[in-house]
Symmetry: C2
Subunit: 250 residues, 2 copies
């Protein structure tokens, strides 16, 4: 529980490589996560090779930590293994559809969070890379992912070379609803975002980005509508390309 | 780490209600999970009310544990709160697209796994309900989820009234790839599934379902192609209905 409450993303790593036994423990922890129907429809690619990590770095928008961290884990929705098994056992697999992608993605993400917490419990630091879905097509190429395999989470892992503060979070009441969803009034929104907006770090971010509000930093600098639309289409095309969009009876 | 390695899904619960402080701890743990760009684009609905849980149970294919477990958590991708905040802060939100749903879903699932592990650390048992994505449209109705909110995970929580064995898992090497993905040969598949297929429980399941192989139990009884296609279309329609499929420039 302490591990969970103390999580911070680590973006600077020591060059020392994590011990193999620790990596094994992390992967074992991942494999114990809940999985739909016990199917384990995900795969984990462990990348340590410097040349391959350089390619990953390039596609993760050249974020420094990807080059620095000695271990890179990519978690993929994977119905390739399961479908191959079906074919070898006189069973006709029917998992080339969107629901199967979603099922595999859920499996992969629960396993990823187990891995992240196990790494932290072993004294290592981690950072999730949101770019994994934006550039999924590139990671498919670099990591040679076959049909019915799509990456949904990526983690850098290594010994921390920084000791950042906890990242601010909205008050828990702001993200929790009792019994059913109670939609937010303007006053609710003000109350939920007040403490974040009053931080000196927030004011600095607004100034650096030459905006008037923190929300504008998100909509005009960080997560812009046109980019979101572009990457939406790109990801849906990737699902089609990887064989996960045969949703109609044939 | 021990908590992670000892996870089993609990499907029988005592009627005693978990203490409020434990539920608060679980929700706090959920809120500490990694989140894309610190946006926390998810919401958690905590349902204890018996009448509402009865409706949830009905839509979760009447699985007993939903009625039995005194607490039900539904984790939703949520860009409603964030978009409302943007609008109140002179910023035009652009999050009505598929990438935003995927981002919210990832946030929600990492938070869900934190909640699951926190519950187990506090002596409670949990079970994920895969039916949450199959029947997302119904949960949107029951839980009154507004536009830009879609459920992606559901957990039953309560004190365990059973002590099941660990669920079998494929050997870790079977789900892990070194450096890049190495596709499976027929021999690999045989080796990976051998121990699962040799279990007496497996043989019993095959017999009960009147099939010849375990794979046939999956393709012909549990996760059938026609069902997968039906629920794929249903879920994609739900994304459209909830406002997450405006992927083209307007």
């Amino acid at each position: 529980m302490d591990i969970i409450l103390k999580h911070r993303s680590i973006r600077k790593y020591k060059s020392i490589e994590p011990e193999d036994e620790k990596i094994s423990k992390i992967l074992e922890a991942a494999s114990r996560a809940s999985t739909t129907g016990s199917m384990q429809v995900y795969s984990i690619v462990v990348t340590k090779d410097k040349e391959i990590r350089k390619q990953l770095w390039d596609s993760h928008f050249k974020q420094d930590m990807v080059l620095q961290a000695p271990v890179h884990l990519t978690f993929c929705a994977d119905f390739n293994r399961f479908s191959k098994w079906c074919e070898q056992r006189s069973a006709k697999p029917g998992y080339d559809n969107y629901l199967s992608f979603l099922t595999g993605a859920i499996d992969a993400l629960l396993a990823a969070q187990n891995a992240a917490l196990a790494a932290e419990a072993l004294g290592l630091g981690i950072c999730y890379l949101g770019t994994v879905t934006w550039m999924a097509d590139r990671f498919i190429e670099i990591l040679k992912l076959p049909q019915l395999v799509v990456p949904v989470a990526a983690l850098t892992i290594g010994y921390p070379d920084e000791n950042p503060n906890l990242t601010p979070r909205l008050p828990v009441e702001g993200i929790v609803h009792q019994e059913v969803y109670s939609d937010y009034s303007p006053e609710d929104i003000d109350a939920i975002y007040q403490s974040l907006e009053n931080m000196s770090e927030t004011k600095q971010i607004i100034e650096e980005n030459k905006q008037e509000t923190l929300a504008q930093v998100f909509t005009l600098n960080r997560y812009k509508k046109a980019d979101n639309q572009f990457f939406s289409q790109k990801f849906l095309n990737t699902l089609t390309q990887q064989g996960f969009m045969n949703n109609n009876e044939d």
